[in-house]
């Protein structure tokens, strides 16, 4: 009985991965084949990008602040509080800016994509679209993924900037250190591979959150309860996959550009 259950679960997982791969691949190909729905892309960019700015600013600012607080306490033991700026900027740009933004935007938008598309599936709006001769993959999925990729890149830059500002606020107002020294160290130790790492990751994370949100939305079954299940699956899986892919990208980039 237990073996049967394991067998069934394993098959289910493999089937889901296979379906997701085909879905994500098809959505990716649609980025390069007309018709491309630019109006839908702009609308989704507004929802995903502009709509997420407040949460990205707040989470970036306070994360930078926490980093400055924690690092200053440790660095002071070695008399190295002067490098707080370097620590905050490198951590935000190389790692936390992209991951944090990815997870915040996944929580906000992968869930909204899954619930919106899921509701459209259970109310037969997707079937209606297909019946009216419009491909829902091109009309609904591709603009969302494309918008997720481009907006996450820009939002990561915003998170990085506000993270460094948050660190500066803590350094200047709580730790009573010099602002010029903070910003000098934050800028001086930044190199091309650090920035590259910080800008490559959101491209992958945007693709992950967009494609997973749409994937779970489009395969919704079981009415409104199914919409809830799809939403949970979209948020959980996109968040976990973002962290897992972050590890892989970091590993690859560190092997290409060793510190």
């Amino acid at each position: 009985m237990a073996i049967k259950r394991i067998d069934r679960t394993a098959r289910q997982i493999v089937l889901t991965i296979q379906e997701y791969s085909l879905f994500a691949g098809r959505a990716m190909l649609n980025l390069f084949r007309p018709p491309i729905y630019w109006t839908d892309f702009l609308m989704q960019s507004d929802i995903i990008g502009v709509g997420s700015v407040p949460i990205v600013i707040l989470s970036g600012f306070f994360t930078g602040g926490v980093l400055a607080l924690q690092s200053a306490a440790t660095l002071s033991e070695f008399g190295a509080t002067a490098v707080t700026g370097q620590f905050v900027s490198l951590t935000m740009i190389r790692e936390l800016g992209a991951v944090l933004t990815g997870i915040m935007v996944a929580g906000r938008n992968a869930s909204s994509m899954a619930s919106e598309l899921g509701s459209m599936v259970v109310t037969e709006q997707i079937d209606a679209m297909r019946a009216l001769g419009v491909d829902p993959m091109r009309k609904l999925v591709t603009p969302r993924i494309f918008a997720s990729i481009t907006m996450l890149l820009l939002l990561t830059i915003v998170a990085d900037a506000f993270g460094i500002l948050g660190g500066a606020a803590v350094t200047v107002f709580l730790n009573h250190q010099d602002a010029t020294q903070y910003f000098h160290m934050a800028y001086e130790r930044l190199h091309f591979p650090d920035i590259l790492q910080g800008l490559v990751k959101p491209l992958f994370f945007g693709y992950i959150l967009g494609s997973i949100g749409c994937f779970y939305g489009m395969r919704t079954t079981g009415g409104t309860e199914g919409v809830g299940r799809s939403t949970i699956s979209a948020v959980v899986n996109s968040s976990v996959l973002i962290i897992a892919v972050d590890f892989l990208i970091t590993h690859v980039l560190l092997s290409i550009f060793p510190t």
């Binding site: 037969e124 209606a128 679209m129 297909r130 019946a131 009216l132 001769g133 491909d135």
Partner: protein, 279 residues
């Protein structure tokens, strides 16, 4: 022949031919379980209205979606507008599907779009100029008696109004085939009669072939024994004993097509399931 014998040996269905608008042959569909549709064969001729009867959950809506390739069969073949679509790619199916109109069970209107944009959805995708769209949408809405809803959004419409908007959306493109999925399900008798009158109007004015799914016998019989009178702008009963010869019936039982024939044949069917359904 006894009822039991009739159920065991149902009469052979009419054989579809390529001149039909729709022809299904030995179609079987299942979703992770027992078949939803089993060995279904029927056709729709030009100008014909087929009423698909059966209790809830026997596969009527699935059969309707199968006709335009929204659901794919495991076995069998489907011919739509003379083209074999059973294994046709989704991309090739889009232009073929857009020649048909479908009214879904709950209307399936796009909540984020206005009534105007819902009705004009297909025209907008085709890049038709705005002025022409407005004119055609107003025509379609006045056909279903909802001209005043032009700028409204679907959530502010009643269930009956949503169905009528869905009918307008299906008709705006002058389809060569119309599929109605329980268009009167869950509606009050007055609204149901309004919807049936629209369907009769479309059938008698345009002669568009159609398939209508319903479990309401009253609606099915009204379709069969009424005609649309353009002078009075309403449906009127046919003379006693007369029925519309182009309106015929299909009946499903547990995914199997157990009846295919006229109203008279339906009323005199020896099949026990048909008799039970009629009673």
């Amino acid at each position: 022949m006894s009822n039991a014998a009739a159920a065991a040996f149902p009469p052979p269905p009419r054989q579809p031919d390529s001149s039909q608008v729709v022809a299904l042959r030995n179609v079987t569909i299942s979703f992770d379980g027992p078949p939803v549709l089993q060995d279904v064969t029927f056709s729709v001729a030009p100008g014909e209205t087929r009423i698909l009867l059966g209790p809830a959950g026997v596969g009527k809506s699935v059969l309707l979606k199968t006709i335009i390739g929204l659901v794919r069969p495991q076995t069998g073949s489907i011919v739509l507008f003379g083209e074999e679509i059973t294994s046709m790619s989704e991309e090739k199916l889009f232009p073929l599907r857009s020649r048909a109109g479908i009214v879904f069970q709950e209307g399936a209107l796009f909540d984020s779009l206005s009534v105007r944009d819902n009705v004009a959805y297909q025209l907008i995708q085709e890049g038709v100029p705005d002025e022409e769209i407005d004119t055609r949408v107003r025509e379609a809405l006045s056909f279903v008696g909802l001209k005043e809803t032009f700028s409204l959004f679907p959530p502010s419409l009643s269930g009956g109004m949503r169905r009528r908007v869905a009918i307008a959306r299906a008709l705006i493109h002058n389809p060569e085939l119309i599929l109605y999925d329980s268009p009167t399900g869950g509606l009050d008798p007055v609204t149901s009669t309004t919807i049936i009158e629209l369907i009769i109007k479309q059938r008698d004015v345009s002669g568009t072939p159609s398939v209508l799914v319903t479990h309401r016998l009253q609606d099915a019989f009204t379709l069969c024994n009424h005609r649309f009178d353009p002078e009075q702008d309403r449906m009127v009963p046919l003379p006693a004993g007369q029925t519309n010869p182009n309106t015929t019936f299909l009946m499903l039982e547990e995914g199997r097509l157990i009846f295919d024939g006229s109203l008279d044949e339906l009323l005199h069917s020896p099949n026990s399931f048909v008799r039970e359904f009629l009673e």
